[in-house]
């Protein structure tokens, strides 16, 4: 049976500007899946963009190459990843005029 772990890296957090999730160690895992559960998007033309980033050390980051489709309404969105090395985070851009995006973000890891 393969080991697995789900981390809630943001919980009902409201963002009004760009942000990155906290560094998360995942060297033991062979596959990962991000979930963004958007609870609320306030403000005209509010958008959330999120791309996966990887790191050799948890300090310096680069794009992994995968990204969520641009999010413009509440709902559940997901992004699978493989071959990501030892660290993962999401780099997120919040667009729109006076935007507010309330989210839960989950990282699901599996051997």
């Amino acid at each position: 049976m393969r080991r697995s772990h789900t981390a809630v890296v943001e919980r009902n957090t409201t963002f009004d500007s760009d942000f990155a999730t906290e560094p998360f160690e995942c060297a033991w895992a062979g596959e990962a899946r991000w979930f963004i559960r958007v609870l609320d998007m306030a403000g005209p033309n509010t958008r959330l963009s999120a791309r996966a980033q990887v790191s050799p050390d948890g300090l310096n980051w680069c794009d992994e190459g995968s990204r969520f489709p641009e999010i413009s309404e509440a709902g559940l969105y997901t992004l699978p990843l493989r071959d990501f090395g030892g660290w993962l985070r999401l780099d997120c851009q919040v667009g729109g005029r006076e935007p507010a995006v309330k989210v839960l973000i989950y990282l699901v890891l599996k051997e």
Binding site: R3, H5, A7, V8, V9, R11, N12, E22, P23, F24, E25, A27, W28, P56, D57, G58, L59, N60, G86, W87, L104
Partner: protein, 309 residues
Amino acid sequence: MTSIEAMRTALIQSDPRLSKYNPLPRILCFDDFDDGVNGWTELLGNHDGDLDNVQPDRRDFRPPQISNLTFFDVGSHGAMGGNYALKIATRPRPNHQATVCKRLMWAGAGQVQLETYFTFKAEATFDREPRGGREYDGNYHPSEADFGSFTIGNDVSESEDGPRYHCVLRYVNTDQDGEFVQKWFSTTSPSPSTKALVAGEVKEVPDFHVTRPGDWREVPDSYMPLCYNEVPTKVNWHYLRWRFDLSTRRNVELQINDRVMDLRDVPVPVRPDPYWGLSRLLNFSLDVRTHTDVRNFLYADSILISVDW
């Protein structure tokens, strides 16, 4: 020593994973983090299904991680045994605390012991102004002053009639200004209940373990500089053995490496109200707290919990 005790001792001492521990007669858990988090999960305050209603001081204790202790300069350190350790990490925000807990029950009102090999580190930073007034000198690295504190604790509830109490012990490495303290402290008030916070009976404080911010008392004769090993990327594993007694509702002792502190006279605050639905509760907590905008980390190679019942 009886022949049965001698046999047990021989078995433990011949097992490379257990021989570094000193368990009480019954091992409840041996948590090797090469196998995952083993029940050490993020602590989260109570709620009614609406996560907006989690009280602020217990809303963001961060998920535990399984770490191979990889650093920017040397790569992977690995754990004391095997590759992986449990990692508890704060956000890079002053007074942020990360807390994990393990939830058990007790089957006898006797002694309980938690042992672990642990290490603590502040995240490596670059071009940062040193705190605490000490510059890098080749042997001293300012990173050591970026580490705030770590804490071990329990949560014991006996019945619906009470009592419920927490033995809580915090190693304070630095004060808020980055000056070294390096002593142990115990709480003088209990962690407020969600019910008391919701009712406004207690004002929320930015320190989950106490009712008021300053409610910590120095453990006598507890000055204990611990090996940080100079830079933020060198790891040495400290032995910790903490024993408490469910029959006296007190700590018994705390051992860190070769130092043993007798804690039987340290008062343990009791919550003012009994609690519904918590009969025989026996929880353990580990947390780490930063005083500045640098992430602080607490790692455990493995954890062994044993009892005398």
